[in-house]
């Protein structure tokens, strides 16, 4: 029997409003599983239901129907929440406190052992060692975000749920945060990330889920999602007949006929037929690889595909 999943959601539905106001469906049958020790990124357009899902995950909101488990247990169980570190999108911090006082407060509420030294070490990890004696009210947005991240790390949690963790942090600071998150992954923690910075998600996460209108549209390993299923990048040796290759169904890339060519083939048979036509024209094949897209293109395709689905399919999906 394998270790329980870090996050397990089945058939999650969440509808807000009802009695005296309009009903708004935030989640429409969400299914998701995140294994222990994984770095999972959840992306999607505004209003997709990402924050609602995170709130249900942590017991901050309750689902209308469906089941969710956190580290194999009930999200509202105290013992489960003790092993979770959470950074909300807009963390409200006490203005008149210093960072060590805030972290000590969080540590007490988590029941986590702490000392003034350990809290200062934690502040140093997030780059706030020099600001330990300043009041939080004087912090910039990025500094507040770093402090929130430090609070999430208290108690060495098994699961880190981070909602826009690098929001407001400068590019160099983001590198530091990424390194910190990778260190946590190395420690064995599971990472669940919600970020609009897709480049950030690509750098940190091994698996990604795309959420739209309350459902997971696509989900899987980053490299699988970003690899096209029907577009290929093909390189030929210099001296190939460009016209013959165009006639064989190849399109030249941005570098022109001397660079890589693109080929669209829905099946391996069609791909090989195209390659055979190219070789018959005298072209020498050097390299064939699936074309890679960035996460932005993957997201766009997934959301457009969902919007373009026939109404009955969309209704059924809803």
């Amino acid at each position: 029997m394998g270790a329980p999943l870090a996050i397990e959601a089945q058939g999650l539905h969440k509808t807000y409003g009802g009695l005296f106001g309009p009903r708004q469906r935030a989640l429409a049958g969400l299914d998701l599983a995140v294994a222990r020790g994984e770095a999972f990124g959840l992306i999607g357009p505004n209003g997709a239901g990402k924050t609602t899902f995170i709130k249900i995950l942590l017991g901050i909101a309750r689902p209308t129907s469906g089941e969710v488990k956190l580290l194999g247990g009930d999200p509202e169980a105290v013992e489960v929440r003790r092993r979770v570190g959470y950074l909300p999108e807009r963390l409200h911090l006490p203005q008149a406190w210093t960072p060590p006082a805030f972290l000590a407060s969080v540590a007490r509420l988590k029941g986590a052992a702490h000392s003034p030294r350990s809290l200062l070490d934690l502040l140093a990890r997030v780059g706030l060692a020099d600001d330990a004696q300043r009041k939080i009210g004087g912090f910039s947005k990025g500094m507040r975000q770093r402090l929130g991240l430090a609070a999430a790390l208290i108690g060495s949690p098994d699961l880190l749920v981070l909602d826009e963790p690098t929001d407001g942090i400068d590019p160099l600071g983001r590198m530091e945060v990424r390194k910190l998150l990778m260190d946590e992954l190395s420690r064995g923690a599971t990472l669940f990330l919600n970020s609009h910075l897709l480049a950030e998600t690509e750098r940190v996460c091994g698996r990604v889920g795309i959420l739209s209108h309350g459902r997971v549209l696509r989900e899987g390993k980053l490299e699988d999602l970003c690899q096209s299923s029907s577009h290929y990048r093909v390189s030929f040796a210099p001296g190939c007949d460009a016209q013959a290759l165009s006639a064989a169904g190849f399109a030249s890339g941005p570098e022109g006929p001397a660079g890589a060519w693109r080929c669209q083939a829905d099946t391996p048979e069609k791909l090989n037929e195209a390659l055979d036509r190219a070789r018959r024209s005298g072209a020498l094949l050097v390299e064939v690889a699936r074309e890679e897209k960035d996460l932005e293109e993957v997201l766009q395709e997934a959301v457009r595909g969902a919007a373009a689905a026939p109404p009955e399919v969309r209704e059924e999906a809803a």
Partner: protein
Amino acid sequence: MLAVAADLIREATKRKWFLGLAIAITAVLVTLSLSLRMEVVDGALAATRLFGKLAKNPIQSVDVALRPVFFAVAAVTFYGGSVFGIVACADFAPTLLSPGRIEHLLALPVRRWQLLAGTFLGVLALSLAAALYGSGGLAVLLGVKTGLWNWRLLVAGLLSTVSFAAVYAAMLTAALYARSASVSAAVGFGVFISGIVAGFRHDLIPMFEAGFGRTLFTGYTLIFPRISALAGAAMDIAGNQPLQVRSLWSLLAGVLVFGGGVLTLGIWRFEQKDF
């Protein structure tokens, strides 16, 4: 729960309202200690000087002479303390429930009812500390100057906290329905004033003609704790006078039932609410 209460107290010590209150109480006590002279001869208050001016009071035994002072202190602690508490504590609950803070707290290994109860306890602790500091400080001051040590002033301070507990329970519950310091304060004042009226219920009922109006007024005032009656009892206790109310325990029971009931409603609402 105690950690939540402690954090609230820590937060309050940084706020100008409470710093101002502490400074004001201390200033009054220091000023009185330096400027008030009381000459007691054979247990009688012979002369009183304030800022060097002689107060024209008849020579009376100290406890009789100081009775009006004890009444006044109890009244100020009770009524003044409640009004101050309503204004100064109105935004604790809305701040607890503010976006970004409540999500963070609910994700911690703390049960929902503990967050609410901790907030309630923290406010009560502040109220009690202020009431005991003011009334206790004055008891010590007058004890040193006259030799009359009236610890009943502390009991009056305790009763004012019990009364404020019922008012704050309503404020806390109101904040769960409308996250607003203004609404919370308005509900606090509403309960406070209704409680004062409820305490004079038996005197006011005859002013209504028998019928629907009287029934409505009677029913309305039955809901609220009899704050003015409890204030009167606190003043009687402070002044070492026989209680004018029939039963202090029934008064306290009424306050506790109201406060407990409203707080239970608040906890139920908090447990159900999505954030």
